[in-house]
C-alpha cells in the first residue's frame, strides 16, 4: 500500500514539476513574435535634454529642534551650538551636594566646549528656534543665543558618554533654577570638527542633568533641546550656484521650459541630473529630495509643497552625480503647464546633521532628460 502511494506521489510530483518548469519558461519568453500584427500606428519615442531656464539658490536658518541628534562643534565654515532646558523650576535645591550634566555622543571627535546659562529674558522654543531667532517672530538679542558670560563648566567630549560636573554654589543653583532658560553648549574656537549627541528623542541616551543629594540623586531629561547652526563665509551665489545641504540648509530651485512637449503625451522617462562638483558631510552619505515649488517668485521664502514630491536619493562620497526620476513631476507639468513653477532640491531631512553638495554649473551643470511617447491608437484607428 505504501509503495503504491509512493509511486502515486512521484508521478504527481513529476507532473507538477514539469508544469512549473514549463510555466516559468513560457512566462520568461519575451520574443517579439506577432508584434507586427498589431497593425496600429505606433510612434517612435522622442528623447530631449532640457537646461533650466530659471534657478535660484539660497541658504537659510531653519529650526532644528526635532532632530534625533544634537550637533556640537565648529570649523572654518560652520558652528553648531546645543541648547538644553531641564524641568527643574520646582525642584528643591536644598541639600544638593553635586550637579552633573551627562551627554551620550553618537559620533564624537575631541570637542572642547563650555556651558553657559541662557538668559532668563530669552525664552526659546525648540521647534522654532534658529541661530537668529529664539522662536517664531522673536530674534535673539545676539545671534547664536543670549547667554551669561559666566562659564558654568568646561569639558571635552572624548568618549561615548561624557560626564560634566558643575560647581555647586547657592548663586549658581539660584541662577540655574530661577534666572535662566536652560543651558547652552558653546564649542571652543580651537575646534575643527563636530560631534553628534543623542537628543531627548533617543530616550535611553537622552542628555541628563543629575542633582546629587546626600544619599540620593535625581535625574532630569530635557524638556527642550535643539541645536542651532551658523555658516561662516559659506554662501552660494543665488543665480549662479546650485547647492543643497542640511544643518544650515542650502536649497536650489530649478524651472524648465517644457512648452515644446505636447500636452497629451506620456512621459516615459524623466531624469533630473545634477553633476556633483564637491560635497561635504559629517557622515558617510547625504540624503536629498525634491519638492514642488508653488510660486514663480524665487527668494528665500518661496513656498513649496509640504510633502516630498519625488523620492529622496542617498549620495555617497564616490558619486559623481545626483539623479532623480521625476516622471510624475514632468507629467504634471506637461498636463498642467500653468503649474510649472519649478522644483526645489534640498537636503532630506534638513535638520539631521551638517552636509552640503555643490553641483557643477553652466554647460556641465544640471539638466533634465525627458523621453516621451504619443498615446497608442485603438483597434479601429481611433
Amino acid at each position: 500500500m505504501n509503495k503504491i502511494m509512493l509511486r502515486k506521489f512521484y508521478r504527481y510530483s513529476l507532473v507538477l514539476l514539469l508544469l512549473l518548469v514549463s510555466t516559468l519558461l513560457i512566462k520568461c519568453d519575451r520574443t517579439p513574435v506577432g508584434y507586427d500584427e498589431l497593425g496600429r500606428e505606433i510612434s517612435e519615442p522622442i528623447f530631449n535634454n532640457f537646461r533650466p531656464v530659471n534657478h535660484f539658490c539660497y541658504g537659510k536658518y531653519v529650526p532644528l529642534g526635532s532632530a534625533d541628534y544634537l550637533v556640537l562643534g565648529r570649523n572654518t565654515e560652520y558652528e553648531s551650538r546645543v541648547l538644553l532646558q531641564f524641568p527643574i523650576d520646582t525642584v528643591t535645591t536644598t541639600g544638593i551636594t553635586g550637579i552633573k550634566l551627562i551627554l551620550y555622543p553618537k559620533h564624537f571627535s575631541t570637542i572642547s566646549f563650555t556651558l553657559h546659562l541662557i538668559n532668563k529674558e530669552s525664552e526659546w522654543v525648540e521647534n522654532t528656534t534658529t541661530w537668529d531667532r529664539a522662536y517664531e517672530g522673536q530674534p535673539w538679542i545676539t545671534n547664536g543665543g543670549d547667554y551669561h558670560s559666566l562659564v558654568l563648566a568646561s569639558a571635552t567630549l572624548t568618549s561615548d558618554s561624557c560626564i560634566i560636573p558643575i560647581a555647586v554654589s547657592s548663586s549658581i543653583l539660584d541662577s540655574l533654577q530661577n534666572n535662566s532658560n536652560g543651558i547652552i553648549l558653546l564649542p571652543n574656537s580651537t575646534n575643527d570638527s563636530f560631534a553628534t549627541i543623542n537628543s531627548k528623542s533617543i530616550s535611553t541616551k537622552a542628555p541628563k542633568l543629575v542633582f546629587e543629594y546626600s544619599g540620593t540623586i535625581r535625574n532630569f531629561t530635557p524638556s527642550q533641546d535643539c541645536h542651532i547652526i551658523n555658516t561662516i563665509n559659506v554662501a552660494p551665489q543665488p543665480y549662479i550656484d546650485y547647492w543643497v545641504g542640511a544643518g544650515y540648509p542650502f536649497r536650489t530651485i530649478l524651472r524648465f521650459n517644457l512648452d515644446t512637449i505636447p500636452s497629451h503625451v506620456t512621459i516615459a522617462y524623466a531624469e533630473l541630473v545634477l553633476p556633483i562638483q564637491s560635497q561635504y558631510s559629517l557622515s558617510d552619505s547625504i540624503d536629498v529630495g525634491t519638492w514642488q515649488v508653488l510660486d514663480t517668485v524665487y527668494n528665500t521664502f518661496t513656498p513649496v509643497a509640504s510633502n516630498i514630491w519625488v523620492s529622496a536619493t542617498r549620495i555617497v562620497s564616490t558619486d559623481t552625480m545626483v539623479i532623480f526620476d521625476i516622471r510624475k513631476a514632468v507629467q504634471f507639468w506637461i498636463t498642467k503647464p500653468d503649474s510649472n513653477f519649478g522644483i526645489q532640491i534640498s537636503g532630506y531631512p534638513e535638520n539631521y546633521e551638517i552636509n552640503r553638495i555643490k553641483f557643477k554649473t553652466g554647460n556641465i551643470g544640471p539638466y533634465l532628460k525627458i523621453g516621451y511617447i504619443l498615446p497608442p491608437k485603438g483597434r479601429f484607428g481611433q
Binding site: T23, G34, E37, A268, P375, G378
Partner: protein, 393 residues
C-alpha cells in the same frame, strides 16, 4: 479485466494532466497572435462536440434549430484551454490560456416548441506581445502590450418541430456585448522605467439568426443565416491617468453569415458530416464607410463520427478556414485543422465531451500552431443510445 485496469489508469492520468494544465493556465493569459486585429479571433463554434467534428456551425449548437428533436431539458457548458506556438522570422513564442467559452440551455415546450438561452464568446481579444528591444537615441526601449476581453453573445431563441420532428425551425435574437482592455507598457530599460497607457473599448450590437434542420431518409440538412444589426463602439485611450482620446458611439455595420451542413447516416454506426460557412466581411462599414483589412470568410469542414459501441463514440474532422482578417502584409489569414474527440458518460447526469484541435493558422510572415482542447459538460436526459445523438436529444 486488464482492459478495465488500463482504462482506469488512463482516466487517472488524464485527470491529473487536465487538473495540472488548468491550474497552470490560469496564471497566463494567452491569445491568438492574430487576435489583435479587427474584432479579434472569431469563434464560430464553442463546444467540444462541434469542435471535434471539424467545427460545426449549421449542424451544431450554433444553429437555433439544433437538435432536430429536443425531448428533454439540456444544459451545456464549455471551457477551452489554448496552447499556441507563434513562429515568425525564426523566432518562436509559446503561450497558453484557459477560459470558459459558452453556456447554454434548451427547454422543450408543448406542441413541439422549445426555448433556449445562450451565453457564448464570439470574438477573443486576448493577446500578449512584446516588441523587439531596440536602441533609440542611446536608450534601450521595448513595448509590451497585453489585451484582455472579447465580444460575447447573449442569445434567446425559440423553435418548433414539424412533421413528427423531421423538420425543425428556429429563431434566435442575440445581444452582442463586448469589453476589452489593452495595456500598453513602454519600457526604457537602462533605468527600468515602465509607463502604462490603457485602451478600454466597449462593444454593443444585436443580431437575428434563423436556423432549420430537416431529416429526409438517411440525410439530415442544417441551414443557418444570421444578420448582424448595426452596432456601436465606445473607446477611451487613457494615458498617465487621463483620457487623451475617446470615441463615442462609433457605428459599425456588420456582415451577414450563412451556413449549410449535411449529415449522411447511411453507414452502420458511422455518420459523415459536411459543414460550410460563409460571412461577407468585406461589406463591413465603420461610420457608414467601407473599410479595408476585412475579407469574406469561408469555412469548410468534413468529419466522421463512429460509435465503437453504444457508449463510446470516436469523432474526427478536418477544416479549412479562410478567416475574415488579413495580416499586415495584406494576405488573408487562413487555417487548416485536424480535429478529434469523444464523449464520456456521466451516469444520472449527462455526458462529458472533449475534443482536441491541432490548428495551423498563418498569413505571410507569422504562423501559429494551436493545440486547442475543449471540455463540455452536459446535463440532460438519462444516457441512451448515442448513434442518433446529433439529432435525437
Amino acid at each position: 479485466m486488464i482492459t478495465q485496469i488500463k482504462n482506469l489508469r488512463l482516466h487517472r492520468l488524464s485527470g491529473t494532466i487536465v487538473i495540472a494544465l488548468l491550474i497552470a493556465a490560469v496564471s497566463i493569459k494567452g491569445q491568438s497572435f492574430f487576435s489583435m486585429r479587427g474584432f479579434g479571433e472569431q469563434l464560430l463554434y464553442t463546444d467540444a462536440y462541434s469542435n471535434s467534428l471539424g467545427g460545426l456551425v449549421s449542424l451544431g449548437r450554433e444553429n437555433p434549430a439544433f437538435p432536430i428533436a429536443l425531448e428533454k431539458t439540456s444544459f451545456y457548458a464549455s471551457v477551452t484551454p489554448d496552447f499556441v506556438i507563434g513562429q515568425e522570422a525564426r523566432a518562436n513564442r509559446v503561450i497558453y490560456d484557459i477560459r470558459p467559452v459558452s453556456v447554454d440551455g434548451k427547454i422543450p415546450l408543448p406542441y413541439g416548441f422549445r426555448a433556449g438561452l445562450k451565453l457564448s464568446e464570439q470574438f477573443n481579444q486576448n493577446f500578449n506581445v512584446y516588441s523587439d528591444s531596440t536602441q533609440f537615441s542611446n536608450y534601450w526601449i521595448r513595448r509590451h502590450i497585453i489585451g484582455h476581453g472579447g465580444i460575447y453573445r447573449l442569445a434567446g431563441g425559440i423553435g418548433k418541430s414539424f412533421f413528427n420532428r423531421k423538420l425543425t425551425l428556429g429563431f434566435e435574437y442575440s445581444k452582442l456585448l463586448g469589453q476589452s482592455m489593452e495595456r500598453w507598457y513602454f519600457e526604457v530599460m537602462n533605468g527600468n522605467y515602465i509607463t502604462l497607457d490603457t485602451i478600454n473599448t466597449n462593444y454593443s450590437g444585436n443580431s437575428v439568426r434563423f436556423g432549420a434542420m430537416a431529416n429526409i431518409s438517411f440525410v439530415t440538412i442544417g441551414l443557418s443565416a444570421e444578420n448582424i444589426l448595426p452596432g456601436r463602439i465606445n473607446s477611451n485611450i487613457i494615458s498617465h491617468g487621463t483620457i487623451v482620446d475617446s470615441v463615442r458611439g462609433l457605428k459599425y455595420t456588420a456582415p451577414y453569415n450563412i451556413g449549410l451542413g449535411i449529415v449522411i447516416d447511411k453507414l452502420s454506426q458511422t455518420k459523415l458530416f459536411l459543414d460550410l460557412y460563409y460571412e461577407n466581411w468585406s461589406s463591413i462599414k465603420f461610420a457608414d464607410t467601407l473599410v479595408s483589412g476585412f475579407k469574406n470568410s469561408m469555412k469548410y469542414s468534413i468529419a466522421a463520427e463512429h460509435w465503437l459501441n453504444d457508449n463510446y463514440p470516436l469523432r474526427i474532422g478536418l477544416r479549412y478556414y479562410k478567416t475574415y482578417l488579413e495580416d499586415h502584409y495584406g494576405k488573408q489569414i487562413y487555417e487548416y485543422a485536424l480535429t478529434g474527440g469523444s464523449s464520456v458518460k456521466i451516469p444520472k447526469f449527462g455526458f462529458f465531451d472533449y475534443s482536441l484541435e491541432i490548428i495551423r493558422r498563418q498569413g505571410r510572415g507569422l504562423k501559429e500552431t494551436i493545440g486547442r482542447i475543449n471540455f463540455s459538460i452536459s446535463y440532460d436526459e438519462a444516457w441512451k443510445k448515442r448513434t442518433r445523438r446529433w439529432g435525437n436529444y
